[in-house]
């Protein structure tokens, strides 16, 4: 081996690294607080008119007066009741129909095109029809949410059934498992990850539909509260209502995340 002069020996240049996000828990709250502070500061300095964009403190005060008057619970309970009933029924029916489409050729061939045709319709467009069918009260709103949650759930469930590993199903059959056991112990748990990600989507669709339906015709509900505030130019109340929706959405996402963690704990 020929002699190498020491000055010709150099370290290999490092070219890796990056492309690996790491958690920075302080960054999110910090940005949030800075945004609020800038907003509050701009409002206090008179840079924006309180009528156009009230200060966060004003919105907080509006929220507090809503709590004190007891009307918060009135609006929130009306909204939550519609959301829970409509979404739960829609999801349950969607899982049932999705399983049928995933398991039976006739259901797949027969219902597949119907689902494909009805899925893209924004369900809020059907609210006038639902009002004629189910009345102006709770029925029409729950029906809107029901159909809003139904179709994404059907599609997610049928896709989940399709993606279940066929060798697991053959394994079940090879041990003589009855059909019902193959469905309950192999197909359904195998489709569960897809069903849960469908639930995330259907829950956010349901919240959108909830607010829209409440804005079209409701006495109580967060959507009705926001609409009323807008009509009265009470932008502080309007912002308070919107913040309420954000909290509602975050809570739903948190609950589904918890359900996912518990139901899919085998994935580690």
């Amino acid at each position: 081996m020929p002699d190498v002069r020491p000055q010709d020996r150099r370290p290999v240049p490092f070219r890796g690294g990056g492309f690996r996000p790491h958690p920075l828990p302080w960054a999110g709250p910090a940005v949030f607080l800075v945004l609020l502070a800038v907003w509050e500061g701009a409002a206090r300095a008179g840079l924006v008119s309180p009528l156009v964009l009230p200060a966060p403190s004003a919105a907080a005060a509006a929220l507090w007066s809503l709590v004190e008057s007891g009307r918060l619970w009135l609006h929130l309970s009306a909204s939550l009741q519609r959301l829970v009933i409509g979404w739960t029924l829609g999801t349950a029916a969607g899982i049932g129909l999705g399983l049928c489409i995933g398991l039976f050729s006739l259901a797949r061939a027969g219902l597949g095109p119907v689902v494909a045709a009805l899925f893209p319709i924004p369900k809020i467009a059907l609210l006038p029809l639902f009002i004629i069918w189910f009345g102006i009260g709770e029925g029409s709103k729950v029906a809107t949410l029901f159909f809003g949650a139904l179709f994404p759930t059907i599609i997610a469930t049928a896709g989940g059934v399709d993606s279940v590993d066929r060798t697991l199903i053959r394994m079940g059959q090879s041990f003589g498992l009855p059909w019902r056991d193959v469905v309950l112990k192999i197909v359904l748990p195998g489709a569960l990850p897809a069903i849960l990600s469908g639930a995330r989507i259907s829950a956010s669709i349901a919240i959108i539909l909830l607010v829209a339906a409440e804005m079209i015709g409701a006495e109580y509900g967060v959507g009705a509260y926001i609409l009323l505030a807008g009509n009265m130019m009470a932008t502080d109340q309007l912002i308070a209502g919107v913040a309420l929706l954000s909290v509602m959405g975050l809570t739903v996402a948190f609950l589904i995340g918890r359900a996912e963690r518990w139901l899919l704990r085998w994935r580690g």
């Binding site: 590993d165 060798t167 697991l168 059959q173 498992l177 112990k185």
Partner: protein
């Protein structure tokens, strides 16, 4: 219980996968099926266990399965086929839950097979926590739990690395020495075939036909890797298969 495979042919669409296969699987012996890839060995195994219907011919069970047998024809799959959402004990339980067994009896069977496959310490682990070799041990425990008359093993060691394969092969030999189970063992690994097979059936390339049958008399327990006569058998089998394997390798798949 013997199995008799009589004139079995199988056709997928326009391709003939198997052509007129006649074989006997004798009780208490291991029959190895080898052949080039795509020769229909796995198809034949699915036909034997009733997961598919042959296009022609029949697979017959001769005699009654032994008493206490819950699932006469029981598979061990290449990719283990464990349910990822069940623990080791839960995966074994899956094969038992639909049988009329008392809770205590079921627990007893599970504890017994896990002990026999040295898995007792892992009963509450999930499949993702186990190595490939351990997963296949779970699948073997699950197969033993239903007291099969014939084990149908579809390349059970092919998904494992070389060292794990050696360990598991030793385990299978000692298991056979204790239980004298009957098995049809599909593999493309000639060394596995001569270590584990009493009879070795060589299938030809598509359409799969019985190309040759070889009987090895030496007891399984006396066979060691590197034994001169086993090496000779491997060389002989490779001679039989080489041309076919080469042709199979160059074949364009029409999927």
């Amino acid at each position: 219980m013997n199995l008799s495979i009589e004139g079995v042919s199988h056709v997928y669409g326009r391709t003939t996968a198997l052509d007129d296969i006649t074989l006997t699987v004798e009780s208490g012996r291991v029959l190895c099926l080898i052949g080039p890839s795509g020769c229909g060995k796995s198809t034949l195994l699915r036909l034997i266990g009733g997961l598919e219907r042959p296009s022609a011919g029949s697979v017959l069970q001769e005699g009654a399965p032994p008493p206490g047998c819950l699932n006469p024809l029981t598979y061990v799959f290449q990719d283990f086929a464990l349910l990822p959402w069940r623990t080791v004990a839960g995966n074994v339980a899956l094969a038992l839950e639909h049988h009329r067994l008392g809770r205590a009896e079921r627990a007893e069977i599970i504890a017994d097979v896990l002990a026999r496959t040295k898995l007792a310490d892992f009963r509450d682990a999930f499949p993702r926590q186990l190595s490939g070799g351990m997963k296949q041990r779970v699948a073997i425990a699950r197969a033993l739990a239903v007291r099969p008359a014939v084990m149908l093993m579809d390349e059970p060691l092919s998904a494992l690395d070389g060292q794990t394969r050696e360990l598991l092969m030793d385990d299978l030999v000692s298991l056979w020495e204790r239980e004298r189970f009957t098995a049809v063992y599909v593999t493309h690994n000639l060394a596995e075939a001569v270590r584990l097979g009493h009879t070795i059936v060589v299938l030809s390339r598509r359409p799969g036909r019985v190309h040759a049958t070889l009987t090895i008399d030496r007891p399984l327990a006396d066979r060691q890797p590197g034994d001169a006569d086993l090496e000779q058998h491997v060389a002989h089998l490779w001679d039989l298969m080489r041309a076919e394997a080469e042709a199979a390798d160059r074949e364009v798949l029409d999927a």
